[in-house]
Symmetry: C2
């Protein structure tokens, strides 16, 4: 389950066309898998979403499971990419704020990707287990060491780094994964920009003040 993009094929070539089709199928499948889960997403529904007969999906991916794992694979890239700001030489408050902003933005712009990931983990990560115990564990250990450095230097309070990551993931992804609940409680058909701003502000406040860092945002922007 490692993605490795060799040099992409020339635009318009047969291989390029195939890749376009595959990308288009994966894009439409994201929503279907997100809303119905793996078992609930039928090949008919996936085909309808892609605007193709279902035989074509089997032509491109072979099995439903292969289509699903290809989708998971494409989603993983997004998951890992946002931690760049967490580096020893950066300011803790700025680094954590940038990370939270990136994760909140991801929940807003890619809710279906988040839900596919959530559904997979919720059901025990049968396909993603080795990735979680591999790349993700390595990443968390690496970034935890950065946080431990900041703590040792007295630049932030002694928060348990892995659990801090669990908390940040949970708070930010909940706006995608549990969006139905949040919309119901707030009584909105869709979350507004202000809702997202308030959510981001709340997460920033809890994490930054919780880590003993400055929290400089305005109290309630746009209230």
């Amino acid at each position: 389950m490692m993605r490795k993009e060799a040099e992409p094929p020339a635009t318009g070539s047969r291989a390029w066309q195939r890749r376009q089709r595959v990308a288009q199928i994966l894009a439409s499948a994201e929503r279907v898998f997100a809303e119905a889960g793996f078992e609930g997403a039928s090949m008919s529904a996936l085909a309808a979403a892609a605007g193709l007969p279902k035989a074509n999906l089997h032509y491109y991916f072979g099995t439903k499971e292969a289509l699903y794992t290809a989708l998971l694979d494409s989603i993983l890239d997004l998951w890992l990419s946002a931690t760049d700001s967490i580096r020893p030489e950066n300011d803790p408050a700025e680094a954590l704020a940038a990370y939270i902003h990136a994760k909140m933005r991801w929940s807003r712009t890619r809710p279906y990707a988040s839900k596919v990931f959530a559904n997979e983990v919720l059901h025990g990560a049968p396909y993603l287990g080795s990735y979680l115990a591999g790349d993700l564990r390595t990443l968390v250990r690496e970034k935890s060491r950065v946080l431990e450095g900041w703590i040792a230097e007295g630049r932030m309070d002694p928060v348990d780094p892995p659990h801090l990551f669990f908390a940040i993931w949970a708070m930010t992804q909940t706006y995608a994964d549990f969006g139905a609940q949040i919309r119901a409680v707030l009584d909105r058909p869709d979350l507004t920009a202000q809702d997202h701003a308030r959510g981001t502000e709340t997460v920033l406040r809890l994490v930054l003040k919780g880590c003993g860092l400055r929290f400089g945002a305005a109290e309630s922007p746009g209230k």
Copy 2:
């Protein structure tokens, strides 16, 4: 979808026996639905988990959907019960800490119930939607008013109350719903008591300090 327990039938009566059977089926179904989702949980699997032929499940519940909604219904009671501590006359720090402890305990002791609920909401809450927009919305409004009172009295920082609830729900339930991910990252077959203690401490720290309240726990108990 409103539960209303009239006076329970006498012990040993026919109605009592039936209720026992129903409770037993629901208890075993919780795990199956949690691990496989609604579509992934087959009546055969549900029957095997209950130790009964699948025809019996149809005898007691009629349809798979009815069995599922009965289970959801039984889980909702748990969801609403933990907010008692949040009342105007209580101390904000103690009230929030008690709520967080209750939610964390629930994640540890009833992970399957949490997952069934999470799966339902993740897929758009098709059966639970009216409850979310009804009872839960009412509860959040009521408790938010308590928090707003505390804020107005200067007893805590001006945190957006509904978003604070979303954050607390997310952080506490993640230990059940995303347990597979947490176990993988921490490299444990099961979370230890210490893992749970550290998770609880982290959530308490973020919420209490994030709200400008005292956070009195030891730095790292049992380290």
